[in-house]
Amino acid sequence: MDDLISEFIAECREMLEALGGEIVAWEATPDDRGRLDSIFRFVHTVKGNCGFFDFPRLEALSHAAEDALAEVRAGRRQADHALVSAVLGVIDRISEMVAALEAGDEIVAGDDTLLIQALQPSADVPVAPVAATVAEAQTKAVAPRTIRLSVELLDRLMSGVSDMVLARNELARRLREAPGDVAVDGAFERLSSIIADMRDSITRTRMQRIENLFVALPRMVRDLSADLGKQVLVDIEGGDVELDREMIEMIRDPLTHIIRNAVDHGIETPAERLKAGKREIGLLIVSARQSGNQILIDIQDDGRGINAKRLVEKAISARVIQKSEAADLSKREQLALIFEAGLSTASQVTAISGRGVGMDVVRSNIERIGGIVEVDSTLGEGTRMTLRVPLTLTIIPALTVSVAGQSFAIPRSAIDEIVRANGASVTLEKLGGAGVATIRGRRVPEIALADVLGLESAVPEEERSLVVLRPAGADVYALAVDRIHDHEELVVKPAAPAIMATGLYAGTTLADDGSPILLFDPAGIAKVGGVRLEAHDRAARLAEAAATVTVSDETPVLLFRGLDGGRRAMRLAIVDRIEEVPAAAIRPGAGQLRVQLGETILPLAGVNGDLPAEKVRLFRLNDGAREIGYAFREVVDMSVVGTEIISASSPGEVSGVALILGEPAELVDPHWLFANFAAASGTLSEQLVCRLPADDPWMQNMLRPIVEAAGYRVVSDSDEIAADLAILSEASSGDAAAARTIRLRADPDPASEKDETIYRYDRAALLMALKSAGAGRR
């Protein structure tokens, strides 16, 4: 708690310092909107933070000032001299209180009513001179226990290290070109590993456990719910997930806002909850987890949910959407209206979740850092908000492509898929000169990168590759490029203003060979290329949310040819990346073929034909814990596979055959691969089957990975396959067809002693149950 208070004080101090000039300037020109806004933000922040701490005087003052300023912002009130002095009085008093806190004193009880009255429109109360109610700040400074470093300094360090890495790469290249002394190579190796270590630790100085953000939540929720006469239990998970400290700062406000909303508007009062047949105590689950290079933060409540119908009505009356449009909105699109400016289903404004600073701000804040907010809600059952944010801001995974012989990079986060222009599922058409690509029945605008850049491409149209892009908050489009190269992690730096002015680029970076590469801004290319994004803006954003949340029974797969020439498909999710290694890197060792990749040695699967003499391409497969390599000849295409799979008669490398892009392909069974190649011992004779309800997103998104990791094949309740185990939620009635059934409850405490359900976040108990269910059969 002490840390939090000192953080709060430091923040206030910083803002007060920055505000110093603003206040004086605002006094001179009370009409200045920008200044008004920055002062409003200050009192808003103070008010918000007082919610965590017990500073009633600070809260009362900042709340009163915020109210008055909100009136001015809304244009209902003029900023006259009296108001300005009153606000200044409040800010002075706040700064005195902060100073007292900083010196380690309590805020002395005092009377602020005069100041607060002075904020009222008709107040003719003279502003009392800032009284000495606060004890004189002690001159003896408190010795700091930690050092506060500016993020700027860390950034400089970070970029210095990045430069060092690039310089090292260049040196490495030079050394390769001019093979020298073994001693030099040895020294260089040492330097390399030191630099790598240093880069790691510098990166870590910027990383913070998300716990720092979460630790304040229980108290905040407790105080909020006490104020509102509600009972809320907070369940926090994944506090050990690490995130760039800058990102933590960026998501602090949006997260606080969402939680306030959930407690204030989402969770009902105990009486209402009992009436609705729920437990008196509302449950708020905040969880963080890492998924690839994204962090997912879920905020889930079991409150009343969002009334989508009312939201649509409000949107129509607020002219956010047309009535005719409203009829076509899907459920998800309706819910997403909550992110539109000026919409809120709350009928009254409360002290807790404010006015003006709404969900639209939450969304724009998250999108500014390259993240996404999604909402899912069932009326009467609860709401789930998901924040997806990238891990850091400086290193961007990107795909390098080339056009007319020049390389460019595209941020991977914007890439939806990559298809070949002459692939079976793709057709290209020209409508009045505009390109339209039809990819598996979906029509997307197509633009040629060469045209956008004004370059001449030597590659004929049908031989180009299409990169389907989905810029943040906009519609998809396909970009035709000459060639796709490689995935790279790039240290991106801002480009010079003259380059940014084109609107096409997001920054520059250096490739491994030391040559500069331009990083594209996908939204900018669409704009310059003339793709109209606005018209489908909303639909696209929603489609995106739909794509990530809905449980699809189609699994994306990578279609490839094996070394024996067989047409096979590999589930995309387990392919970490594609590597190319010299044939010499593959050697038998400890009873099986192994491949050396950098400094690791992986078991190698897929060697069912002759290995190529020089270079071998392989998938690097990852089950979350272990990796194996899988050699293949060539990648054919990306596609999806549905549920219609003809299972193989006996377990093996191929789990079944499915029609993919009109031709049969063998589906590689990753489980079998890992069981046979990665497992240290034992061979699983047959895979266990677990049935999960397909329509339960929690089960599909959160539970499924655990179940799969425990060795089960997951089927949905509609699949007619004999299951060894079924997992159901407590609420669902009836039995699932399975040898055994596990029921999960949402409540940590069992309802009675006989209750055999498992709390759904009790990982240990879940794993035990999964294991014992499996043991029954083996």
């Binding site: 310089a167 956008v452 480009a495 010079a496 203003p497 310059v528």
Partner: protein, 145 residues
């Protein structure tokens, strides 16, 4: 006042750059084009793991286009607002001491020069035109906007 000046030749004319602003003089070999950028941006180049934005001074002065096709070009590297630029010049000659503060040039200069001029300085080698590096980097377009 003793200020050092770097004498370079741009479009056949000997002019002075404030030596303090110039970090180094380099020879550029490879240039990466920046499609759609302003014409005076000749491209990107790399210097010791830094990206340089290469400015064609002739183009910036509207005095023609530097021919970059023949390979190595000399350039002066300057830093401006945290970005590094390489200014392509015909040749780099010498560093001299400024013997006076910049004085306004009262005679009419060519339009390109007028825009980037900071005035005339006296040196041991006679009067020199002192160039405003920022104006050179921003080019004609920025001025018009």
């Amino acid at each position: 006042m003793s200020k050092l000046l770097l004498i370079v030749t741009i479009a056949g004319e000997r002019v002075a750059l404030p030596a303090g602003a110039v970090e180094s003089v380099v020879e550029l070999d490879t240039l990466i084009q920046v499609p759609r950028a302003a014409p005076h941006v000749a491209g990107l180049s790399a210097l010791r793991s830094r990206v340089l934005t290469v400015i064609d001074c002739m183009r910036s002065l509207e005095l023609g286009v530097t021919d970059c096709s023949d390979g190595v070009r000399e350039a002066a590297v300057v830093e401006l607002d945290g970005h590094h630029y390489a200014l392509i010049v015909d040749s780099v000659e010498d560093v001299v001491e400024a013997l006076s503060d910049p004085q306004p040039v009262r005679a009419a200069m060519g339009p390109g020069w007028e825009r980037v001029s900071e005035g005339m300085v006296e040196t041991e080698e006679g009067p020199m035109l002192l160039i405003d590096v920022a104006a050179l980097v921003s080019g004609v377009e920025a001025k018009a906007a």
